[in-house]
């Protein structure tokens, strides 16, 4: 299996807080990797490091290397904007642009960058919405307000917006935690489908979800990577006692 993203001794500090400690691991192409662990263990922080979201936080300091196709994204010459075009992100709370229509939300990545091509746009919007199984639900109200969609529809819209710009890696930070079971199921099916084209890294608090959707799982505790490996192995015969305790719900 081809590795797509590689963390090498990644450390993230926020002022005096050492949030991620010496993490090294691989994320593979066309596979889903789940990041699990108790609240505050640094899952979101690791995820956000992979598309340089910490650049905006003055107190944040990232050291170590993150290789995307063997190139360090924290290299001095690396450009955060082009990295974010290759590494998209879906957030915990659906966050469509409230002032934009459904159509404009899907095409936002092009529109905000000032390079929309009318006929191409229609094509991108339709195919992106179809991929997230939202097309049939919204095709008659593409010019309608995105805030009138349900939470689950909004989240699928955000995923459509992310895949519309054709990233290579998609980061998802608890994408279904604000959703009802049916919407969650739809998102999970979607992830299953998306991995044919993308490398997916998903943070989740839901063990069943991790077991269902991921091929690989990484367990974090207090900012450290305790164990990473194939999901089946992590969930049946983990190497570390800590991992087993967490997965079986014996601590948390």
């Amino acid at each position: 299996m081809q590795n797509k993203v590689k963390l090498e001794q990644l450390n993230v500090h926020f002022g005096a807080t050492h949030a991620v400690k010496d993490v090294s691991m691989d994320f593979f192409e066309n596979s889903v990797t789940a990041i699990i662990g108790p609240s505050g263990c640094g899952k979101s922080t690791v995820l956000r490091a992979i598309n340089r979201m910490h650049d905006l936080v003055p107190s944040a300091r990232v050291t170590g290397r993150i290789l995307l196709d063997d190139k360090d994204i924290y290299d001095k010459v690396a450009d955060p904007v082009s990295i974010r075009r290759r590494v998209g992100m879906v957030f915990q709370k659906p966050n469509p642009f409230p002032a934009m229509s459904i159509y404009d939300n899907v095409i936002a990545g092009y529109k905000l960058n000032g390079r929309v091509n009318r006929s191409e746009a229609d094509e991108v919007v339709e195919s992106s919405l179809k991929r997230v199984a939202l097309w049939d639900e919204v095709k008659d109200r593409l010019k309608g307000n995105s805030m009138e969609l349900s939470g689950g529809q909004q989240q699928r819209l955000c995923i459509a917006r992310t895949i519309a710009v054709k990233p290579e890696v998609i980061l998802m930070d608890e994408p279904a935690s604000a959703l009802d079971p049916i919407s969650t199921l739809k998102i999970e099916e979607l992830i299953e489908e998306l991995k044919e084209k993308y490398t997916i890294i998903i943070v989740t608090h839901n063990m069943q979800q991790a077991a269902r959707v991921s091929d690989h799982t990484a367990f974090f505790y207090l900012g450290e990577l305790v164990e990473a490996g194939e999901t089946r192995k992590i969930f049946t015969t983990p190497d570390k006692k800590q991992t087993e305790d967490y997965i079986t719900g014996r601590f948390g």
Binding site: N51, R84, R85, M89, N95, F97, G109, N113, C158
Partner: protein
């Protein structure tokens, strides 16, 4: 028993006192309105809006050139002040966080508190003296100096209220920070920003002192930005201190129009603020 009655009495007395104090706030405003309407309304006519002041001794005339001059200078001041205030606010809110932001914020607060006559004197030294003459341009610059800190601070506050999740959504799509700031953050805050702009315009619309040393005023029509230009507050001032009864009446009419305009600006600023809160 007695103490309870006493306590209730004291409570009522204090409540009444505070209500009276609160109502006293309204008194100056009501006085101003009533007085201005009483003195000014009778002198308002079509002539007032279409004629320029008549030479001394003749009756009639209006403030058309003053109104146009004020509009021109406020527009010019906005052209100067809006970009500086808004872009500066974007820097403070979206890029800042360093020592220089704190300094700029403090400087803006000090600038906002500086008496406007001093702003006028500075504009006089910096523009009127080197350009060898009073000018509308110098007046506009003086007004812009008053507008900038107001726009800067209100815009910054509005930008800070935009949820971080929207910025992140845009950045994660590979949109550069400057485009995100303009097209997502500023756009989401637009109604609030407009409120601040309207308040800033309302504030400078009535400023007289900074124009005394800069635009100077003009009896006639003038469209040259490098020449003295009439302005409503200046005309009101000049007419009010003149010895002629007829000019006094014009001054009151001018005061009424000016206060009405400012009232309308404040109302629309409130309206903008409201409609923002609703969604």
């Amino acid at each position: 028993m007695k103490s309870v009655i006493l306590r209730k009495g004291a409570n009522m007395a204090m409540t009444g006192l505070m209500l009276a104090a609160a109502l006293a706030v309204l008194v100056p405003l009501v006085l101003i309105f009533v007085h201005i309407i009483k003195m000014g309304l009778s002198s308002i006519s079509l002539d007032f809006f279409t004629q320029i002041p008549k030479p001394t001794g003749e009756t009639g005339g209006g403030m058309a050139n003053g109104m146009a001059g004020s509009a021109v200078m406020i527009a010019l001041a906005s052209i100067i002040g809006l970009p500086i205030g808004i872009f500066g606010a974007i820097y403070l809110s979206e890029y800042g966080g360093s020592r220089i932001s704190t300094v700029i914020r403090f400087a803006a607060d000090v600038l906002a508190g500086i008496p406007s006559i001093i702003t006028g004197m500075v504009a006089y030294t910096l523009l009127v003296v080197p350009m060898k003459g009073f000018s509308a341009l110098a007046g506009a610059v003086a007004l812009a100096m008053i507008m900038i800190p107001i726009i800067l601070r209100t815009t910054e506050e509005q930008l800070k209220m935009v949820p971080g999740s929207l910025r992140e959504a845009s950045l994660a799509l590979g949109v550069p920070l400057w485009r995100t700031s303009l097209k997502v953050t500023l756009r989401s805050a637009m109604t609030g920003v407009m409120t601040g702009v309207l308040l800033a315009i309302a504030r400078v619309a009535g400023e007289t002192a900074p124009l005394l040393f800069t635009a100077l005023g003009n009896q006639f029509w003038s469209s040259k930005l490098t020449a003295p230009m009439a302005a409503m507050p200046l005309q009101i001032f000049n007419f009010a201190i003149s010895p002629y009864e007829d000019w006094h009446r014009l001054a009151w009419a001018g005061a009424l129009v000016l206060v009405t305009i400012m009232f309308a600006l404040s109302l629309s600023a409130r309206y903008f603020g409201r409609s923002r809160q609703k969604n």
